[in-house]
């Protein structure tokens, strides 16, 4: 049995596996460093000129909201 995983290289040149993509007020992508499972990052998925972009979160408040969204969907 096999499973397909996706990963992406971020601006720090590290590869991050995609854990989840969840949609609340915005759509968020939850990522973990392939080399370190405790190294986690949240990015916002936006569309610019028909191209999907992973954007850094704007505020600490948005980070809290993204964490809350994960919690609601994970439990």
């Amino acid at each position: 049995m096999s499973k397909e995983l996706e990963y992406v290289e971020l601006e720090d040149k590290e590869n991050y596996v995609i854990l989840k993509i969840l949609e609340g007020t915005n759509k968020y992508v939850y990522l973990a460093n392939i080399k370190d499972a405790s190294d986690l990052v949240i990015r916002k998925l936006i569309v610019i000129d028909e191209q999907e972009i992973l954007a850094g979160l704007d505020t600490d408040q948005e980070f809290n909201e993204a964490m809350e969204l994960f919690k609601k969907n994970a439990i």
Binding site: E4, Y30, I34, L40, L54, G56, F63, K71, A74
Partner: protein, 212 residues
């Protein structure tokens, strides 16, 4: 091994809150890995337990070497079918009426040795506790800690264990207690993310030979 602390949550916040940073998502790559599902408990649990045991080690320097935890567990097994049984549990504990509540206390103490039952817990070597806290004992552990939680409704830390429904649940709640943030929803959420990551990390490790 995965160890978790507040610094890592702060690191996650710093790496996530980056106004203006844009990465083209379509550049993502796909890989196919062999599917394994059983590693959450073994990989993550070992990390969490190791963190807890290390912290506890400093507090049980005077542990009694003659404590026989296997015997203790066997006696507990016997009590399940005879709740009124009284057993001699050790030279310093004298006689004690065993109950699921009692072993629940000890399991909870393994995560929180600062409570008043520390004197009981200190007679149990931490590696023996660690050996007992396995998924195969899940039903008994959950039942025990839940009963203990019900018996002490004013104790906020112990209440963390109430309503455990799975092995992951137990580990997450225990980790919260170890780190003294039983009510931190943020912390619990973070740990749940690491559970996810630990699983995928193991899959990737097979593919690439990398990992924590």
């Amino acid at each position: 091994m995965t160890n978790i602390n507040d610094d890592q949550i702060n690191r996650m916040r710093r790496k996530s809150v980056k106004p203006g940073v844009h990465i083209v998502f379509s550049n993502r790559k796909k890989i196919v890995v062999r599917f394994k599902t059983f590693l959450i408990a073994s990989a993550l649990a070992t990390g969490i337990m190791a963190g807890g045991a290390n912290g506890l080690a400093n507090m049980i320097e005077n542990v009694k070497d003659n404590w026989d935890f296997n015997s203790y567990v066997q006696q507990f097994d016997d009590v399940i079918s005879d709740e009124n049984a009284i057993y001699r549990t050790g030279d310093q504990l004298q006689y004690h009426a065993y109950s699921e509540n009692f072993i629940g206390q000890e399991i909870a103490m393994s995560a929180n040795p600062e409570l008043e039952m520390y004197n009981v817990y200190s007679r149990i070597k931490n590696d023996e506790i660690e050996g007992y806290l396995k998924e195969e004992n899940l039903d008994r552990i959950i039942r025990s800690v839940s009963i203990y939680a019900n018996s002490d409704p004013e104790n906020e830390k112990i209440q963390c264990f109430a309503g455990c429904k799975s092995w992951d649940d137990f580990l997450i709640k225990q980790k919260c207690v170890i780190d003294g943030e039983p009510s931190s929803e943020m912390y619990e959420t973070y740990i749940r993310m690491v559970v996810d990551a630990a699983l995928k990390e193991q899959e990737l490790e097979e593919k690439f030979g990398v990992g924590a």
